[in-house]
């Protein structure tokens, strides 16, 4: 009985390590081997008291047509096929209940179907930033949020998983822009 107790304890302790480690592994694997796709989005700047400063990432594409005959229900897991356009920006072009055989796709949850269209709940919504860079990020957003160029979310996609890798503006990495601005408070670096 005592041996069984120790075996159960050992397995539980192992599982308590495996769950977070599996999360890290999937994340790193997606970043390393995933396809890079770019999504045009808007990004206001809220604050999560538990996890710090983040940018709320909202891709501009909000809805997609439901294929004829597909019985979608709210909360159902579906697969969104992604196609990159001539401008280099990707968009969801097709929804399916089964994983697509080819191409890049993201697994996401469907919403209510209305007028044969459903809203897209993107599997990423937050891009966390360093607290010390946050004030500079505030200024940067105030200056650029209404720009026609728009903010681009750079997402790595692998086997239906999506990881938000970076944000960019006018071809420059968001992290780089903020670092430049932090080093050069006059704000010449955009």
């Amino acid at each position: 009985m005592k041996t069984l107790t120790f075996i159960i304890f050992g397995l539980a302790a192992l599982a308590q390590w495996l769950v977070p480690l599996a999360g890290i592994m999937q994340h790193e694997l997606t970043l390393a081997k995933g396809t890079l796709i770019k999504l045009k989005c808007s990004a206001p700047d809220p604050y999560d008291p538990l996890r710090g400063r983040f940018l709320a990432v909202r891709p501009q594409q909000r809805e997609i047509s439901v294929p004829a005959g597909a019985k979608l229900q709210r909360g159902m897991l579906v697969y969104a096929s992604l196609t990159t356009g001539t401008d280099g920006l990707a968009s969801v072009t097709h929804l399916s209940i089964e994983p697509p055989q080819s191409g890049d796709f993201i697994r996401l949850k469907s919403s209510y179907v209305h007028n044969e269209k459903t809203q897209i709940h993107w599997p990423f919504s937050r891009f966390y930033i360093n607290e010390k860079l946050a004030p500079e990020a505030d200024h940067w957003f105030a200056e650029n949020i209404r720009s026609t160029k728009g903010i681009i979310a750079e997402v790595r996609v692998l086997n239906g998983r999506a990881v938000l890798a970076d944000l960019s503006f006018d071809g420059k990495s968001f992290r780089e822009i903020l670092k430049q601005r932090d080093n050069n408070p006059s704000g010449t670096a955009r």
Partner: protein
Amino acid sequence: MDITNNGPVSFGGPAQFYPMNNSRQRWLLEQLPQWEREGLLTADAARTLHERHSSDTSQLGLAQVVIGSLGAMLIGAGLIAVIGYNWDDFSRPVRLLFAFLPLLLAQAFGFRVLQRGDSCAAWVRETAAVLQASSAGASIALVSQIYNLGGEWPDFLFWWFLLSLPLTWVLRSHAVAIFYLVTTAIWSVNQIVPGRPWQDSPLIYPVLLLGLLPYWPGWPRKEALSISLRWVMTISALIGLASAAVFANEQAVDYPRYHSEAFLWLWTLSAAAIALFPLNQAGIDEASRRKPQVVLGALWLLGYGVATTFRDVSNNILKGTSHALELPWCWGLLAVLAGFALHACTRRRWAVLAIASLALLPLIAVPVVGQGETGSSLLSWLATLHLSVIGLTLILLDFIGKRGASRLGTLLLSVLIIARMADSHFSLLAKGLAFIAVGVAFLAFNFFMSRHQHHAAQT
């Protein structure tokens, strides 16, 4: 009043053991020497009582659980605050170290407590379990934060309570068991979203509850379960099964065409199953207040029974029953209920069976009235008749010297009379006079019963 056992109670026989809480046991043990000195007890009798009710020091008091858990949580919160103050200055590997080091330390502490076995105080066991469960949750949350993993809080909660469950078995932690019961109920309510696969829905709640099998009432255990754990378990089971019923109903047909009337009957079947949950003889012999599954289940069933006596409500229940009978979940509940009812028959739990049978009245009415028909008063009259019989039986049992509940019976009959007056077409004056008459009769009966019991005690 114990509504779970109508038979005469025997305290004789060496094999009988009646669970008593720790404070009462301590009081009894303190009195024994004096009773022996005063000649009230023989030395043999005092020794037998001492052996039977020797205080179990491994049992947890509420204060021990609270202090142990609170201490562990304060340490955890303090560490988070200290680390969080400098969080932005740390590199990713250092942050990961802070995510996993507390888990490693908590696991080492838990291992040491396990090694020491029963020589370890109960509160130390409790503290070790709470620390380990907290650090397991914290490590998932911190890794999620460090890597911006995203995801939704119910998924985090799911993994957290699942990883904490084994600690309730091996470290016998009541605090972690309560945490598990609360979080599984919260998770189940949140998962009521049609379209979810069954394995990610409240339908798996019974399996999650099965995880706490060693804590179930009636399961062979060395020590009696604490009252707080029993209440949390019952409330969690009621919420979890109610969530599963709602999900099963909504899943069957697309929104907004699902039938909300079906919930009520499915919930009532769940309450009946909970009230009839199989108990061993020691469990049956316990007082009703130590059996929250019977108290809450019976309260719901009686409330449902009285509501069913109203014609409009009974028509809605009939409509809901017709829809519910198309659901596999409903048939599963009926099968479980049948099994529990058979077990209750063998244990002679007639009072609980009588109350639980209220849930099955729609099954009698549906074939007679027909599915989808709503213009009948049959179900409301059946419910009125059933409740009246229960009320009268509870009163009569007391008069013939059996274990009854005359005041509950009177209350039930009074409520029925008031309900019938409320939906009748009599004038307000007539209704008022009837209410006064019922009130006077109730007080008179209470007075009569007090005298009757006083007289019975004297003779």
